[in-house]
Symmetry: C2
Subunit: 102 residues, 2 copies
């Protein structure tokens, strides 16, 4: 499996707005080859932000990379760049391969 | 759901040793109330280390916290602190609550 994570630092007090953006967003992931699961997670609070992480889980890295070159990806990210007032800095992407799964 | 993550920075060239420690480790998680799934993930390489993450997934934060106070937790971490030569710095813990799951 391949886990594509993005980490988002959200301005304190704007957490509900950020969660609403995701709840209303069409991720266009249903039916994408190799896609398994998507989660949005709320993590620890720091002095000036709350950390969130998105995890999309794929059968393998190739399936994820094919998606990033697809029309479905373009549609899912059509609104990216809006609502910059919610964020401290850019999202940080990290890709992970499964070593153990129990 | 609650996702308990640890991030590990592993000295370059010691990745196989680190993975072997986990492959041979008994996590004592089977049968723990509220435990759902465990994964060890290998992430991006930096100049001086490779990033790994462990994810343990729980029904809720209370189940995770009860485990951290249990005998099973003590057994699972009996060997922690050994093999410090594999690590750059301490593992970083972050706990996340599920906001969306698709």
């Amino acid at each position: 499996m391949f886990v594509a994570m993005n980490r988002f630092r959200i301005v304190q007090g704007r957490e509900a707005d950020f969660e609403r953006v995701w709840a209303e967003r069409d991720t266009h992931l249903d039916g994408v080859p190799g896609f398994l699961e998507f989660r949005l997670l709320r993590g620890p609070e720091a002095d000036d932000h709350t950390l969130y992480a998105s995890h999309s889980i794929w059968t393998d890295r190739d399936a994820f990379e094919a998606w990033t070159r697809s029309e479905a990806f373009r549609k899912a990210h059509a609104g990216a760049g809006e609502r910059r007032d919610l964020y401290l800095g850019h999202p940080e992407f990290e890709g992970f391969e499964t070593v153990l799964d129990r």
